[in-house]
């Protein structure tokens, strides 16, 4: 059981995600995709994420249904089912990655594979500020609705959305300015920076990466003749 509950090194987790995503993307047949879905679901359960994944379906399903409906109208039901399942697989893989690896760890992994620290830090910071700006947007919306500005999604209300956009834009600009100041005041960009988190790829990480690579190779081997034949 410790095999599944132990935290993977973020780099190993990202590698598994990359291989899984690549396998889903290159798959063109529904039966292969269904087998892949089985493996993904198994991994979700093994990682102890099944309950959370079920809750996340509230977000995943509406997008999937939209893609399914559009594909059903423009292509066929079979194609729509295939595209819907592929989307669920891709979103589930990303869900599992974000559940197991923090934004900070992703940034640190990116730095270790050669991205400059400044760039990886800015990337992770911008990801962290998305929920903060989301909170700001909610506050702005509450304030504007409370003064009687109609922000319901109606054609005639389009000009009213300036009441959301302008305060948010100004606050985002001010926030980035203050953020830069705060980072500078705590030594961002100093050359002697150390990194306290030690990342080590252990035997377990190698084992998981090897298993994912084998599975990936099997799926490619299964799918490739079909792809070449179609070509």
């Amino acid at each position: 059981m410790s095999f599944f509950t132990r935290r993977l090194d973020p780099r190993a987790a990202i590698s598994v995600w990359v291989l899984g995503t690549a396998a889903v993307i290159i798959t063109a047949r529904t039966n292969v995709l269904m087998v892949e879905s089985g493996f993904i679901l198994l991994a979700v359960c093994a990682l102890g994420l099944f309950g959370k994944w079920i809750s996340s379906l509230r977000l995943i399903l509406p997008v999937t249904l939209f893609v399914f409906a559009v594909s059903a109208v423009f292509f066929s039901m079979a194609e729509a089912a295939f595209l819907g399942l592929r989307l669920i697989c891709l979103l589930t893989l990303s869900f599992a990655l974000f559940q197991k690896v923090s934004v900070e760890e992703m940034g640190e992994s990116a730095r270790r594979i050669g991205l400059p620290y400044g760039v990886s830090f800015i990337l992770t910071s911008s990801m962290r500020y998305v929920p903060l700006l989301g909170e700001r947007l909610t506050s702005i919306m509450d304030a504007q609705i409370s003064r009687g500005i109609d922000l319901r999604p109606r054609l005639r209300n389009i000009p009213n959305f300036l009441a959301l956009v302008i305060p948010l834009l100004i606050q985002a600009i001010l926030l980035s300015d203050h953020l830069a100041m705060a980072m500078e005041a705590r030594g961002f960009g100093r050359k002697e920076r150390t990194f306290r988190k030690v990342m080590r790829i252990g035997a377990m990480d190698w084992a998981v990466m090897a298993l994912s690579s084998v599975l990936f190779a099997l799926f490619v081997w299964w799918e490739l003749p079909h792809k070449l034949g179609a070509g």
């Binding site: 910071s125 003064r147 009687g148 109609d150 606050q171 953020l179 100041m181 705590r186 920076r193 150390t194």
Partner: protein, 483 residues
């Protein structure tokens, strides 16, 4: 330790000097309060002390700023770390890491300390501020008070000889203030020089050994706090409230707000628990409570932004839960804490006219009446974004009042405001009540609440735990809670 001689500073693109001919010397281990009205140059002084001026903020700097004998112009920004630590007013901008632990570690890693030392210092700072339980949490999900403590810890861990804090008491309730005061005293006793830039003077004036009073970018007074009170009173930094007459029974006209058994839960947590409250026409009620007590959730039920899960909310007989917030805007006007959330027009006049158009009374005489009531006559052509904090707040409240609601709700109107604004706000609230409006003020500023309200209601853990009239009740409550 740090000496400013004849220092003036003008921000790039501005014609007015933010600091004018400043001469200040701050020695080791001093505990200094810097106060002044909005726009007096306090924050600019803090940036100067922390080296952000001239190394990060553009502008014209003249005079000499020396740190331990070295001219700060000749130092690099990196040289200020770890000598000087600055805690910013805006905690959201200061907390830019994924966890509290990483936040405290950031500056230490910048200094090139070994992982073992970094871990040690993280634990030390967290213990000092009693935030060990927060180390694994994301700063985004902390309360305002917790964010403030984490901001301080992230700077404190660096071991600065000079700690500068820009309005650290804003957003804190009375318990948070008492805790922060103790922490700052302990830091100072441990040998650090502490400079607190603050508007909430009563929170800190008894603790400091020196007060610097600023006005229009210049130092008006620099000396012992007791002697500074004269200058503070002259500048109306310490508000002198007129205190409304408190009749034996505060009840006035007919019932306007009726809340019965209101409960609300989120993610399994009870935010409001069976709140019942009646508020009369022309009454001024202060809803007081600590951070996270459920005050803002309560007022969001008054104008339909939130629907009661249990209980009823009626405004002038109409069920608020059955109405959209848009329809409720004509009955209940809510001014939230941050006035910048509202501004999207080019001038103050246009902001007010948004409300006038919605009320159907967009006429010059009405605009004139409102601008006089809120003291905005000379500011109508100005951009709301370029006003002082007090002027912004007045504009925000005026634009909500322009919709002509019967009930006006002010959420934490005193945060970040100087004494002059507080006096002006007391006057505005009195006049609104006299004209028959019902005013609900949500605040943790107990002194303000006792000055303006006919009645106060204390909320704790989502329930009304106490009600009372007059200042004595609140003051007793304050001392009881703070103790």
């Amino acid at each position: 330790m740090i000496e400013l001689k004849n220092v003036s500073f003008c921000y790039s693109g501005s014609v007015d000097f933010a600091l004018k001919d400043i001469d200040i010397h701050i020695g080791r281990g001093e505990y200094v309060l810097v106060c002044g009205g909005s726009g007096s140059g306090k924050s600019t002084l803090a940036y100067l002390l922390a080296g952000l001026i001239p190394h990060f903020i553009d502008g014209e700097l003249s005079g000499s700023v020396c740190y331990d004998g070295a001219e700060t112009r000749s130092l690099k920004m990196a040289d200020f770390l770890p000598r000087v630590g600055l805690v910013f007013q805006n905690s959201d901008a200061q907390l830019f890491n994924g966890s509290v632990e990483a936040e405290i570690a950031f500056g230490l890693e910048s200094m090139g300390l070994s992982p073992g030392v970094v871990e040690e210092r993280i634990i030390g700072a967290a213990k000092k501020l009693r935030i060990e339980s927060l180390l694994g949490r994301s700063p985004t999900h902390l309360s305002g008070g917790e964010k403030r403590l984490v901001s301080i810890a992230s700077v404190l861990a660096l071991g600065p000889k000079l700690l500068v804090l820009d309005e650290p008491f804003s957003n804190l309730d009375w318990e948070g203030c008492a805790r922060l005061k103790t922490i700052l005293r302990e830091l100072n006793e441990a040998g650090a020089a502490v400079v607190v830039v603050e508007q909430r003077l009563r929170e800190i004036i008894k603790d400091v050994e020196r007060s610097i009073v600023m006005e229009a970018g210049a130092v008006l007074f620099d000396g012992e706090p007791d002697q500074a009170k004269g200058a503070m009173k002259e500048l109306r930094l310490l508000p002198r409230y007129r205190r409304r007459d408190m009749p034996g029974s505060p009840r006035k006209g007919s019932e306007v707000v009726s809340i019965k058994g209101l409960s609300y839960s989120r993610a399994g947590m009870e935010i409001l628990r069976g709140v019942s409250l009646e508020i009369m026409e022309g009454e001024v009620v202060a809803v007081i409570g600590k951070n996270g007590a459920g005050k803002t959730t309560l007022i969001k039920h008054l104008n339909g932004l939130m629907r009661p899960q249990e209980g009823k909310v009626r405004i002038e007989g109409f069920a608020a839960s059955g109405q959209s917030p848009l329809k409720m805007a004509g009955l209940v006007g809510v001014s939230f804490q941050n006035p910048n959330d509202q501004f999207f027009k080019n001038t103050v006049e246009e902001e007010i006219r948004v409300g006038l158009r919605l009320s159907g009374r967009d006429r010059p005489e009405r605009l004139h009446e409102i601008s006089i009531l809120f003291g905005l006559e000379g500011l109508l052509e100005r951009s709301p974004h370029l006003l002082s904090e007090g002027q912004k707040k007045r504009t925000a409240i005026a634009s909500i009042f322009a919709v002509e609601p019967r009930v006006l709700v002010l959420d934490e109107p005193t945060t970040g405001q100087d004494g002059r604004f507080l006096e002006a706000l007391e006057d505005i609230i009195s006049r609104l009540a006299e004209s028959g409006h019902t005013v609900i003020v949500v605040t943790h500023d107990l002194e303000f609440a006792s000055a303006i309200a006919d009645r106060w209601v204390m909320i704790e853990h989502g329930a009304v735990i106490k009600e009372g009239c007059g200042p004595e009740g609140i003051e007793n409550e304050f001392f009881h809670q703070a103790a």
